[in-house]
């Protein structure tokens, strides 16, 4: 039995088509990522799979249960950490877990043991009696994860779990999720952090305009892209519009500036190296470093979604803005 089986899932908001006839399966024990730009349909998909939203058409079975017909039964089998869901700030971390446990109908003795274990694993046991309103966003997210796992579900959904978190909290959560998955919990993750998906997921689906445009393991996705080589070069000084000049070289398909380095995409590696050397000589530039890179998942993502590096930066910026907003709270 698959942990998730979605068939022709479609969701309209009025006339707007948010999710367009998507079908996929997630195997038990898999770490599955749904990657896409903002507004691509990630959250709508996760909300349909977790019984929070009815699809306009199509079906989805989660742990073998029809989520459209029996959303409450599905919720009893899964854990959900949604981007917008927060623990109750007026209650302590412990009381939040006890409340979640009571709605999952867990026996009193069992709920205490489970809560203790989870709070210890997530590093917040010592702060269990503090009100959540005193917690940072990272700590609140840990409480939300503990609440979602209180009934030891075999499938955990996470919608942008590390969005806007500080580096330490994000790393801690990633490590926790990795260990949870190793213990056998199936994880369905949506994220717009491409590196995060690359690091954690067994398979990734890329969604754009409500449609899945690629579904494979990160390495397979990258290997499909390996026909294109990437050269990263840095010069001893900056020349105005250097990237525009390099982009005009005959073998170069595109160029991206990364700090003091310039990333050059080409299908003719030896000739491009020659052209870069000539370009450096002609412009009286000294090459400080030159490296070849394997394509990253971000490269695959850019190619498939048709987003520019500016769009990716914007996505990352949204992440940073969320972080700032969280700090301001």
């Amino acid at each position: 039995m698959n942990a998730i089986k979605a068939e022709n899932l479609t969701k309209y908001y009025g006339n707007f088509l948010a999710v367009n006839n998507i079908s996929f399966e997630v195997r038990q024990g898999e770490f599955f990522g749904l990657l896409g730009p903002n507004g691509a349909g990630k959250t709508t998909t996760i909300r349909m799979l977790t019984g929070l939203l009815k699809p306009t058409s199509g079906t989805a079975h989660v742990m073998g249960i029809d989520v459209v017909k029996n959303p409450v039964d599905v919720k009893a089998q899964i854990g959900v950490v949604s981007e917008t869901a927060n623990p109750y700030p007026e209650m302590t971390a412990w009381d939040n877990l006890m409340f979640a446990a009571s709605l999952h109908d867990i026996q009193k003795k069992e709920r205490k043991e489970q809560a203790e274990n989870l709070l210890k694993l997530l590093g917040i046991y010592n702060r269990r009696n503090e009100k959540v309103e005193n917690f940072s966003k990272g700590l609140r997210k840990r409480v939300a994860i503990a609440m979602a796992l209180i009934h030891d579900p075999s499938l955990l959904f996470l919608d942008e779990p590390t969005a806007g978190l500080d580096v330490q909290s994000a790393r801690m959560i990633r490590e926790f999720l990795r260990r949870l998955n190793e213990r056998g919990t199936t994880i369905f993750l949506t994220t717009h952090y491409i590196e995060e998906a690359d690091m954690l997921c067994d398979r990734i689906a890329i969604i754009k305009n409500g449609k899945i445009i690629a579904l494979d393991s990160p390495e397979n996705l990258k290997s499909a892209k390996r026909r294109e080589k990437v050269i990263e070069v840095s010069f001893d000084r900056y020349v105005a519009d250097v990237e525009k000049s390099i982009a005009k070289l005959s073998t170069v398909s595109r160029v991206k500036k990364r700090g003091d380095k310039i990333r050059i995409y080409t299908s003719n590696f030896p000739k491009t190296i020659q052209e870069i050397s000539r370009f450096a000589e002609e412009n009286d530039l000294e090459i400080v470093s030159i490296n070849t890179l394997t394509p990253t998942l971000e490269d695959v993502f850019v190619q498939l979604t048709g987003l520019s590096s500016l769009d990716i930066e914007r996505m990352e910026q949204i992440g940073r803005l969320r972080k700032l907003r969280a700090r301001g709270k």
Binding site: K75, S82, A85, N86, Y88, M91, S102, L103, D105, A148
Partner: protein, 247 residues
Amino acid sequence: MRKNTVKNLRKAAYIAWKDVRIYYFSTPTVMMGLLFPVLMFLTFWIGRGLSVSEALPGLAALTVFFGSSSIGVTTLALERTKGTFDTQLAMPVSLLTIILGKTIASFLYGLTITIIPVGILAVVSHHQVASPLLLLISIAFSAIASAGLGMILSASAKHVHEAMTPLNIIRIPMMFISGIFAPITSLPAILQYIAYIMPLTHMVSSLQYALLGLGNIQIFLINMGALVLYTMLFMIIAAKRLENSLE
């Protein structure tokens, strides 16, 4: 089926207890609960030449009606703003169970803030309550119907004011045609028909019987039946509106 019903009722009770703990024990809520009936009574009583006894049914009706319908609106909208409502939605509870839980909490609040001042005033004014048991039943049924009304308007509101404004548009005119300030029989015929489909009218009528002995037991039972129907209707509509608001 029966096992499921018991389970859902238990979950509704957990939600109600959570609401009571978080919101109803807070200082502003307790203060509002204490001040509201006092101000309501003074507004209703001063300058009208009524005895305390005559004013009691009106005071009780307004307190239970405004108290129970307001508090649920506040908690649901606040939870939506804070993102805690989504946490609840992710749990294995139906929308009707969530609405029921919140209605129970609002009912308990309305019941408490009505019984205490009515009890104190009855003792202080040496008023002989016609039937203390029917008074308790009447306040309880009124509280739960009022809580249900509040739920309808809060079900789709994302902020407190989005629910409070339409709630007041409904509640305030209702106050003037429900028999609190003037007997229904003195109203124009069209308003009399409207009055009888208003839940507040049935609250006032049942409280007048329980506190003063006005009317008869048949009318009291009809009023109770009407309030039960209103409660069920309000909760079903609230759950439906809540479902639509999640789209």
